[in-house]
């Protein structure tokens, strides 16, 4: 089975090696940022950031700048805008945000079209929207590493106040945690994570890597710490397996047309989610409902 999975030349190929490293790093960052995102119910904010990141990446590409700059820049601007407008806790049903994001998508359309017609580079649309991990420049790798380290360190540093404010803003507030500052810091961290994963999986699909593995993990564990570990594991599996399968797919048909990494990553993420949902339901069906009988000691009169 392993031999089927690892087509010849997989590890010898330098771009694959780079992809595996970058992919692994991004998977870890996405999982950690993602678990807080899901915990805080901010999946839609994450999705909104990807739309703005798309416009940013497309714009950067047009300007001849590295897409990573555009992805992150666009995301950070989006995070700031959302904080100003106050949409941190907005649910996906909100129409206003959806319509305004339409403008971001429209901008992306414009930039992508202009860059396709005005430059000789091909495949810009695919790489911006659906990822370009096999064509990542080796110069980008240290940038990705540094930014990932910054994200992880920041999350570790604000981890406990962030967790407490996600569980209960009231309790956090009473303990002197500045909810607004934490919220904004997290949004910016999230924007950077989204930007980083856009390189691997494309801006449009990066939501999957952000919230999929954490959501799957949360269905299976009880403790937060275990949730983080499992989310990282699931994210790594999805990304690395996605890369391997994408490489292999070149050999599957005689036309040597491979499928994009992002496609496989999304498929694995969805499979993980379906599986964990099934396990969750199966577990819940097995355990009998515990009826809590509270035996109240009624003291006679007042003591």
């Amino acid at each position: 089975m392993l031999r089927w999975l690892l087509e010849p030349g997989l590890f010898a190929n330098p771009s694959v090696r780079t992809a595996l490293v970058v992919g692994a790093v991004v998977a870890v960052v996405s999982a950690v940022a993602g678990i807080f995102t899901v915990l805080r119910g901010q999946s839609f904010a994450g999705h909104a950031l990807t739309d703005v990141a798309t416009a940013g990446g497309a714009g950067a590409s047009l300007a001849g700048v590295a897409p990573l700059v555009g992805f992150i820049g666009g995301g950070v601007v989006g995070a700031g805008a959302m904080d100003v407008i106050g949409v941190q806790r907005v649910k996906g049903r909100d129409i206003a945000t959806g319509v305004v994001l339409g403008a971001a998508t429209g901008l992306a359309a414009l930039f992508l079209y202009l860059s396709t017609t005005h430059s000789s580079a091909t495949g810009t649309t695919q790489s911006i929207l659906f990822g370009s991990i096999f064509t990542v420049q080796s110069s980008t790798v240290p940038e990705v590493a540094v930014l990932s380290a910054v994200v992880l360190l920041t999350l570790a540093a604000i981890g406990r106040p962030l967790l407490l404010s996600s569980v209960s803003p009231e309790l956090a507030s009473a303990r002197g945690v500045h909810l607004r500052t934490i919220g904004l810091t997290f949004m910016v961290v999230l924007a950077v994570s989204v930007g980083l994963s856009a390189i691997v999986i494309g801006s449009i699909l990066s939501t999957a890597l952000l919230i999929g593995p954490p959501a799957s993990a949360l269905k299976l564990v009880r403790r937060f710490g275990a949730g983080v570990t499992l989310a990282i594991g699931l994210g790594l599996v999805a990304t690395l397996l996605g890369i391997v399968l994408a490489y292999d797919s070149y050999y599957w048909s005689s036309s040597h047309r491979g499928l994009p990494v992002s496609f496989f990553v999304v498929v694995v993420v969805v499979a993980e989610f379906v599986l964990s949902s099934l396990i969750f339901r199966w577990r819940r069906a097995r355990v009998p409902v515990v009826v809590h009988v509270v035996v109240a000691d009624h003291p006679e009169g007042w003591h």
Binding site: L164, S168, R175, G176, K219, V221, V294, P299, H303
Partner: protein
């Protein structure tokens, strides 16, 4: 815990001086004055909407008063006041939130600490100790979201106490409990307060369950406050002055009933005085 403020009974812990509070221009409370001493059990009694939560927010530093000041040990409030713990009425929680009761209590120790902290053995022991004190060990490892109201409350109390505050604020802890559970919580609080040398300040709209344990009452009505022992405060003359119209106080079998008089105008109804409901 600061050693020079060890809980000497009778020494002042919290003082609220000449506080006026307004929200959006509307006056909520005027001329509030009272103090709480170490180890005291104080009840904040008032109807729904009388300003109890607002007063708590002022004490916690979350709401600025228009006038007056709050001091703890004679010093002004700071945002993350280690001396005051807070138990909100209820946690609005996603039942799937991956936080066990134990974890929530642990966050009471370091939930506001930035930086890279590791929990020590001492921390874990403190958590266990507090869970035991509130009788929550049985469900310590269950998700907080899946606990009943009463169980959650114990966990919240443990969360607030684990950082060893000197004053514990509880926002309407008895509101959604049946009389039996309410009694349990009151006994628990009374016991824990003694063990942990903590002063208790809890708000309620019904004072009768608290009568056996209250050292002091802060009675809020009509935007004003009267404080003192129950005998000093729960009297027709004091309460009438507070409400602004005639009020009778009946004592029946050790319970207190505050009743509006026949010439009550201003349309005050039973709904304004829930303590009129006979137990």
């Amino acid at each position: 815990m600061t050693l020079e403020h060890m809980s000497e009974e009778g020494s002042e812990l919290l003082r609220v001086e000449d506080i006026d509070v307004a929200i959006d221009g509307r006056e909520i409370l005027t001329d509030v004055n009272f103090r709480i001493d170490h180890g005291e059990f104080t009840g904040l009694i008032g109807a729904n909407g009388s300003g109890k939560t607002t007063l708590f927010r002022v004490i916690l530093g979350l709401q600025s008063p228009v006038r007056g000041r709050v001091t703890v040990h004679g010093e002004a409030l700071s945002r993350s006041n280690r001396s005051i713990g807070y138990v909100p009425q209820k946690l609005l929680l996603d039942p799937d939130m991956p936080i066990r009761a134990r974890d929530l209590v642990a966050l009471g120790i370091d939930g506001n600490r930035y930086g890279f902290t590791r929990r020590t053995r001492a921390d874990h022991l403190a958590v266990d100790e507090m869970l035991s004190a509130v009788d929550a060990l049985a469900f310590a490892d269950r998700k907080v979201g899946g606990l009943s109201g009463g169980e959650q409350q114990r966990v919240l109390i443990a969360h607030a106490l684990v950082s060893r505050p000197e004053l514990l604020l509880l926002d309407e802890p008895l509101a959604n409990l049946d009389p039996g559970s309410a009694q349990e919580i009151i006994s628990l609080l009374h016991q824990v307060a003694r063990q942990q040398h903590v002063a208790i300040f809890l708000s309620a709209h019904e004072m009768n369950p608290l009568l056996p344990v209250m050292d002091r009452v802060v009675y809020v009505a009509n935007g004003h406050v009267a404080s003192g022992t129950t005998e000093e405060v729960v009297r027709p003359d004091v309460l009438s002055a507070l409400y602004g119209h005639h009020v009778d106080v009946l004592r029946v079998h050790g319970r207190v009933l505050v009743v509006t008089g026949p010439e009550s105008d201003e349309g005050s109804t039973r709904a304004d005085h829930p303590e009129l409901v006979v137990e």
